[in-house]
């Protein structure tokens, strides 16, 4: 079926050891042997069996990645960035979807460890319940947390500066004349949701004490954005601005408001987080915070491959700044009165 290195060695008239050395570019091989092996390999269409190599070298050249839900459009961008980086580093990506379920997540991590991945990129679905999984994985493999952190475990982490982002967008809204706020986001099961909520509270709480009543937490989905908006509309007058914890939520909020005849941004300003591709095609286009996706992916892979190659030292935390992208959903607010 498959051509093995033994076939190549026989065809080239050398031993398996010499064939192996020639194929892996080791120095101590004569020019004649090298030529013979390479041409035999070419002629026979030899491809090295990475399973056997992995067993012998105790390294698979594979990195596992666990994402909470690949259909959430923010994660594919991260996966794409990671995959591209890994591929240039000659490594393969083993992808798992935890479906936001910490138990399923744990079993997927186990499956990855069983496959002897060299490293793990972990987007934790639950900052508390994923901690044990991360800690356990840490004992057998190098691991870097991406985008979402976990509590109580000292591990490398790379993600966006959520607090900075929220401060930027609130400052922008206040400058645009907004005085009252609401917040629609995900329940604080993951670290990003938690960081965004607490930054929002710190930024808004002091001057808008009604904002607490207008804080609605659900999940990262269009449907939740719509539902929260209906709740807010039926509860009383809307605030000047609705800050959303993610673009998917903001797009739902915007759609529901628009369909109800509420003008965005003239009646209510709306902002998102992430800057997914569809933030720019809504009506009005969505003001949001652009995640440095490529940088996060690159930094994560760099960190991880460094660790795999033996880099030691304390856990590194890389917090990258987002970029405020001002679009129509917040910009041309009509001045009151």
């Amino acid at each position: 079926m498959y051509v093995t290195i033994r076939d190549v060695a026989v065809a080239a008239g050398v031993s398996i050891a010499t064939a192996s050395r020639a194929l892996s570019g080791e120095p101590n091989v004569s020019a004649a042997s090298l030529r013979a092996v390479l041409s035999a390999s070419e002629r026979l269409g030899y491809r090295t069996n990475t399973v056997a190599r992995s067993l012998r070298t105790r390294s698979t050249g594979t990195v596992g990645m666990v994402v909470p839900r690949i259909s959430n459009p923010y994660f594919p961008r991260l996966v794409e960035a990671v995959e591209r980086q890994l591929s240039t580093a000659g490594r393969e990506l083993l992808l798992c979807d935890s479906q936001n379920d910490p138990d399923l997540e744990a079993s997927r991590v186990d499956a990855l460890l069983d496959r002897r991945v060299d490293g793990l990129i972990f987007i934790a679905s639950d900052s508390r319940r994923s901690a044990a999984t991360a800690a356990r994985a840490q004992r057998s493999v190098r691991i870097v947390l991406m985008d979402r952190s976990v509590t109580g475990v000292r591990l490398d982490f790379v993600g966006v500066d959520n607090a900075l982002g929220v401060r930027m967008v609130v400052a922008h809204l206040r400058q645009a004349g907004c005085a009252s706020f609401g917040f629609v986001s995900s329940r604080t099961v993951d670290s990003s949701a938690r960081a965004r909520l607490s930054a929002y509270r710190r930024a808004v709480g002091r001057f808008d004490k009604d904002s607490a009543a207008r804080t609605l937490l659900g999940d990262y989905s269009v449907e939740w954005g719509r539902e929260a908006t209906r709740t807010l509309m039926s509860a009383g007058p809307l605030p000047d601005a609705l800050v959303c914890g993610a673009d998917v939520v903001a797009l739902g909020v915007n759609a529901e408001l628009t369909e109800a005849g509420v003008s965005v941004p003239d009646d209510v300003a709306v902002t998102g987080f992430d800057d997914i591709a569809f933030a720019s095609v809504s009506t009005p286009p969505l003001t949001t915070l652009r995640q440095p996706t490529d940088e996060i992916g690159a930094a994560g892979v760099r960190l991880l491959t460094g660790r795999i190659d033996g880099a030691d030292g304390p856990a590194v935390i890389e917090s990258l700044p987002p970029e405020l992208v001002v679009r129509g959903s917040s910009s041309r607010r009509r001045v009151a009165g």
Copy 2:
């Protein structure tokens, strides 16, 4: 570092062979041995090394999947469906992104074959240039084409019925009063783009001979939708309807029209293809064809695992019908005059 089956065997006081048999649930193991092995395994935290197992059994329990571009929001849904199906079948997914480049695609397929995947799910980036890659892969592994086919190779395929979809949407638009048409889609490098274009021509060509001039082909992106729309607007009067080859394109078209003050659907109806999550939050919401993503993923995995388990027979082609989802971008067309 890792606990091996040898450690378990020693701790249980049996041979490696017996330990292996006990762990894999073979019948001929005494109750006493079984108990001893299982408890030793538990106590020591043994996890079987799948690399060694794969080498011996010549099967990795892994399926490779190649997608053209994971950040195109249609593919994550497919990946999610496939991943879920595989995971219940106890298999792992090795994901590669070909970035729509047939050469990169070929090298990613090689990498997957080197890793001895048991099967391959292949979304071909180019119906012609990917054919050689598929044919080569076919020689060493079971393979099923998904969503996009290739020319000239007899292989299992599962995807949506593109021609049916286009016929459905054109019929709907004509019923809504549209008499002149335009088509904005991707260049026909992949089989879906080709099938949609030819179905469109067949459906529209006979009664709107100007439609050929309003056929613009680029790629699957929001930007291309915007660019094509600008071209159309500057070229003369717009048709009654713009049929788009994908939702991403249609959302770009809709945004560009709306920003230019053209009313959708009153001046121009717009339709998409795929029914991605964001089709429903645009203004107006997008009429489109919903892909049976879960069914495609399930059928693909079923087909592939069947082949892996030895099913023989001629290549199977599964063409699943899309569902027309009528929303605001086409429905309430004002009657002419």
